[in-house]
């Protein structure tokens, strides 16, 4: 067993720890691991190029940018925030829990591409969450605003991850089934997917409780003297 390529992992860990540019760290780690596995440089270059080309689907979000940019210039975020601010019953926790439920249910049906950080979180969910939090405390500071936006992104991730495993045609279930089949264990995908249900429910409960807790913290924090920021 050749343990030298593990140095590529060390490069990643060290690079992130030293706060170097992540894109550079990843490229260097790939070169280090590749060369230490005794791959000829020319082959490594081919592998890098081929795999990068194969992963173009991961940058598809650029196609959403013209729409989102134009709408933002025309005041989409301001409008989303105003709208939430006007609706009394739409509290911060209800907004996020509602979004979580929809995101999780859609993922369970395999409709994962319908929402996401570029499509829904930046233009809609994040400004709405900020506006809902402003209804509790009109003078949010920058740290709190960032925490709320980050929590909106975290809610999207949680809903996506812990919904999609229930959809039987999703990659994860098929990967598990395929792995077992290769090793002589034949399983029905439905029997695998059903075991993702308890964790999916737990994920919904945990994230919802955290949204409620964040809301309570905003409500009960002591009124502070206006600090200069």
């Amino acid at each position: 067993m050749n343990y030298w390529p593990l140095l590529g992992v060390a490069v990643v860990v060290a690079g992130f720890a030293l706060r170097m540019n992540p894109a550079l760290v990843v490229v260097v780690a790939a070169i280090v691991s590749g060369l230490l596995s005794a791959m000829p440089a020319a082959d490594l270059l081919t592998l890098l190029g081929a795999k990068f080309i194969d992963s173009r689907n991961l940058l598809i979000l650029v196609l959403t940018l013209p729409t989102i940019g134009l709408l933002e210039r025309a005041g989409l975020r301001e409008h989303a925030a105003n709208w939430i601010a006007r609706m009394r019953r739409f509290t911060f926790a209800r907004l996020l829990i509602g979004y979580l439920a929809v995101r999780q249910l859609l993922s369970m049906l395999g409709l994962t591409g319908i929402a996401g950080h570029a499509q829904t979180v930046r233009p809609l969910l994040a400004p709405m969450a900020e506006a809902a939090a402003e209804k509790i405390d009109p003078e949010l500071d920058l740290d709190e605003r960032e925490r709320i936006r980050a929590f909106a992104a975290a809610t999207d991730n949680t809903g996506l991850f812990f919904g999609e495993d229930i959809f039987i045609a999703f990659g994860a279930v098929l990967l598990i089934q395929g792995f077992y089949a290769q090793n002589g264990i034949v399983l029905d995908p439905r029997h695998i997917a059903i075991w993702a249900l308890p964790t999916a429910i737990a994920a919904f409960v945990v994230q919802s409780l955290r949204a409620l807790r964040l809301q309570r913290r905003l409500r009960t924090k002591p009124p502070r003297a206006r600090e200069s920021s």
Partner: protein, 324 residues
Amino acid sequence: MILRVEYVYWLCGALLAACALRELWRRRWAHGAFWGILAAIFLLGDAMKSAAAHGSAMPQQLAGAGVIALGLIAGFLRRAPTAESTREHERRAASAARLGHGLFVPALIIPFGTLVFTLMQPYLNIGGISQLDRAAGTLIALALACVLAALAAMMLTRARAADAIAETGRLLDALSWAALLPMLLAMLGAVFAFAGVGEAIAHLTAAAIPVQSRLACVLAFAAGMVAFTVIMGNAFAAFPVMMAGVGLPLLIGQHHAQAAALGALGMLTGYCGTLLTPMAANFNIVPAALLELRSTNGVIRAQWPTALWLLAINLVLIWFCALP
């Protein structure tokens, strides 16, 4: 005409090329070069792949050199100062008041258009030939929805194509190298797999644990899934490695774990790792850039408690449900 996934990449490439030209026009050379190289890989990627299929490795090696160049330039990207004046604020507020809920329409065309095109996919065929490339159906559906949404947004806001490019450039500038990280990490994952990094880690884990102890095996399996997912940024890469190293031989072979439950819960344990790692860039780093957080780890900071709770719950579920 069959809509193939290549067209989607060409569209992305054209958009990136337009933004690259805009940056060069503004004399931001590093930015122009960065998006320009990326645009070239999107536009020429399919030609490079078919050249490789015909035995010429040279074009793909050029792409590889381009990737290294992207990594080197990434450190020189600086955000252009944005004019966030009060006048601009007032203009946006007035525009928001004028357009009202109409602003939601193009934004909602993206998700709902994707949904409709995805569901329509089996029916979009003429003369028995599907008009959408089956394998990449969702991708094409998303691209079609984005084109429709962009046209709707231009009509609604009376913007020209040049405005759309300028706005795309502004958002790309905010994303910067973070936009590229998911692709680079997918590439790194492939190199790691090729170099046998996964097998080495599974080997070390299996050698380190007391195999007689059921608890030690469960903990090693879960910790391995999380740790390996944190390193690779992807639970899919961790699963076969940890299953082959620990799950199959020890938990199923020796401790008679139930395969279906262990598989599902093991994968979900890996997902807890995905919530914790900057290597899962498209979920954790890209949104931090999109939401303009000052810390690139802001999203991870907001979700680690969820990840640890779910990890604990998964461990309990594995212990009581997957083991006899």
